[in-house]
Symmetry: C2
């Protein structure tokens, strides 16, 4: 056994106990909101047949898929000429038949097609799983990271779009975020604009350019539009659209005028209006009034993929790119031979949300520590006192530990500090004789005398009860 | 884009919404119990450097590790002679530098060594993550499956062993299991027996043979012992030990006699006695009296790995192999250059526990369904009634959906059935006029008239409130 100094594989991360608590807090909060809206969780395997993934993400994407080497004598069937030529790329299908999941969308499409006869449509699902990409690792970009997707397939109703706005609102609010903007656009509006200008074939170039308005300003966008084949006259036509201003209603009104000659463009406006009408019927018009929702026709996001409404969410409390996005796509499962299934979905950027909550100190105390009280260990002769107490604390749902050896008190206190345990209980000879223990509050340093029964009552009241969590989850009344 | 009929990679599984609910129920229950005992969750990446994993699982194990092909022009540095010879095995390190996690133990050891300066010892951790093995898939054996490990490193106290007994007891009871046996043995007792017989070098052969007592009976064990180098005289010595009978105390007493000449053997007995003493101090002597805990010296489990106590758990309510096991190991991190760290740990066989709970119908209703009420859709003109109601239900923490289109009622009912939604609410013209809706109980088929307010009160009381789960988890009082 070689004695090597261990390291992480490039672009991967360990998650410490405190990071895990915070990550679970985010995922559990999202999971609870998704379920409240009727989305069900599924999971797909970490690896798929290579043929399931290849060709779905473009040529660049294919390169970033992690391929798994076949087991056993994997070279036996490899064509000799490919080995001689060292044709790395051509050899792949001969020595690898499996690959790690690159996103959650293609496996979801595969799932829907394979299980189409068990699924009641519309199928509302969410999925929170890691994906892997052979990207060059950078600050904030990892080779293993979680995606968190919510989708409905098999329903063209714009109620679904409206509900996704409510999902964003409730999930982000539940995480403690107060000021965020949900941007909405519609692919049909972008098509309409390109049509009105008379350059429908340049829709992709147009949207790529105006998508950059935030970063490069109008002059930058104009320069890029000229390079991409638009004329000065086109720029004059586009300017009022790009700089569209006012309330959402005013923007939609202006768009109707601009797009009056484009039926597809008007359809896009009507779809957004219908989403808004649903939100008003929900009693959520405040989201529309205070600009939590914002019509933004510069929003493009994966244009070649989306066919209807497009969403993007950003927080206004921290400087951070988008923390979520999504939209409607007309053909999720066509790649696997099941045509005509429409879908709409959104995703949450869990890593970015984590960073925002950390920066704003929005993680609740309960998401940082788990053990609520450490009983200091003063030796075997105290066990007849401390072990029943420990047992009863846990029965009452309080996460508790006895330090496992009679180490120096300083060391035991250091352990409690390291684990961010809020209370330490001291049970020495004096305490055993009097039946009154000393409870130390680790943040204030204050100590109080307390009996065993009082202790349980105090900690049940003042700390997180994990027993109760289980009870609420598992018991039906 | 090739139009292929999609399939799963061999040995992998999709998890449907209902399977996910059940799996999450198991994992959340375990997680809650682990935290109550002061264990903290960590996660490690799905892939490690190949060098971190190679050589840790024996030659057979190495073959079962899934290797990931390097990205880009991975053949460029491959030695030509290995390609010419088609030396699959020798080529691996030249074209693959990463591999999928094979178990949770080696990554945990790597974690402890890399983070040794941040960790307060003893380090109590648990980890619930998938692992991957290139095994031949069989019924019940998958290439991707979850492991669920709980360990303490850096503490030699037998309090840890005693606590693991309590963890098993509480976790299995929380899952609804009523009759299970926690078997305990000690590697030192096995060493002592081999020593007393005068064949210490045959300890592995001895334990491999007697480990099979359950399956092949005493005659079978004897035949195997003879083949493995024991004599008829040895068998006479071993017989009373293999057939050791009586209460735990009686067994320990007999072992003390048999092992009186072996100090290591006696040490093993003393360790089990100390674990039992801790359990008595905890007030958990009932576990000892009613044979929930059972001394079983035929228990061996990965003998070359464990150095002290050994555990195995089986349910007596279903015919199923072990559903968990573990033990103490003296040198977890030596393979990465950090010597002398002792550890003890147990694991839970999540897939087997799942099958047992399914067979015994122990999954609570709440772990099967998520949406609690479906509002039937009778068209746009009802939205002014149904959408605010839907909004308020969710605000009250009730998972609720509106069917997204005014489809035939039969289809909507079928959807509710498919998702196992317990209630369907009917809001038609008559209901809107009277303000009194019809609530259908999908299991009994009964319908009751109910107002909007009554509905929320009724469903809050009679169904799982997901809002409350979040609140209990996130709020500190």
């Amino acid at each position: 056994m070689a004695n090597i100094k261990p390291s992480l594989a490039k672009g991967t991360r360990d998650f410490s106990p405190q990071e895990m608590e915070k990550r679970n807090y985010i995922f559990n909060t999202l999971r609870t909101v998704f379920k409240k809206f009727g989305y069900n969780e599924i999971q797909t395997p970490s690896f798929e047949n290579l043929s399931t993934l290849t060709g779905k993400y473009g040529e660049e994407g294919d390169k970033l898929i992690f391929k798994i080497l076949n087991s056993g004598d994997y070279l036996v069937k490899a064509p000799e000429e490919l080995l001689d030529e060292k044709s790395s790329n051509k050899l792949i299908p001969h020595i690898s038949e499996k690959a790690l999941r690159y996103d959650l969308t293609v496996p979801f499409a595969r799932y829907v097609v394979m299980h189409q006869h068990e699924i009641a449509l519309p199928f509302k699902r969410f999925q929170i799983q890691p994906v892997w990409r052979a990207d060059r690792p950078q600050r904030g970009r990892y080779r293993e990271f979680y995606q968190c997707d919510v989708d409905v397939v098999g329903s063209s109703s714009l109620l679904n779009e409206a509900e996704f706005v409510l999902v964003y609102r409730e999930a982000l609010a539940a995480l403690g975020l107060k000021d965020f903007t949900i941007k909405i656009n519609n692919r049909k509006i972008l098509s309409g604009i390109a049509e009105v200008i008379g350059k429908p074939e340049l829709i992709v170039d147009m949207t790529v350019a105006i998508d950059k308005l935030d970063k490069i300003g109008l002059d930058g966008v104009n320069r890029e539009l000229l390079v991409r084949g638009f004329t000065e006259a086109d720029l004059d036509l586009l300017k009022p659209i790009i700089l569209l201003d006012g309330t959402n209603d005013e923007k939609l009104m202006s768009l109707k005028e601009v797009l009056s000659a484009s039926s597809i463009g008007l359809e896009g406006v009507t779809e957004i209006e219908e989403v808004f009408r649903y939100l008003k019927d929900f009693g959520a018009e405040r989201l529309l009034d205070n600009n939590t929702i914002e019509v933004d026709i510069t929003l493009a996001r994966g244009l070649n993929y989306y066919t209807g409404c497009i969403f993007e969410v950003k927080t206004n409390e921290a400087s951070m790119g988008s923390i979520g996005g999504g939209g409607r796509y007309d053909d999720l499962t066509g790649m696997f031979g099941l045509k005509g299934l429409t879908g709409v979905g959104i995703s949450f950027g869990a890593d970015r949300i984590y960073d925002v909550l950390d920066e704003l100190e929005l993680f609740p105390a309960s998401s940082v520590s788990s053990t609520q009280v450490l009983i200091a260990n003063f030796g075997e002769e105290t066990h007849a006192h401390t072990l029943p107490l420990l047992f009863n604390l846990r029965e009452a749902g309080v996460a508790a530990e006895l330090y496992p050896a009679p180490a120096k008190l300083k060391k035991q206190m250091g352990y409690a500090d390291g684990k961010q345990i809020p209370y330490v209980l001291l049970v020495g000879e004096e305490e055993m004789a009097s039946g009154s223990y000393s409870l130390r509050d680790m943040s204030s340093g204050e100590q109080q005398k307390i009996s065993g029964e009082e202790l349980i009552a105090f900690l049940t009241k003042n700390t997180i009860s994990c027993g109760n969590i289980v009870r609420n989850i598992v018991i039906n009344d």
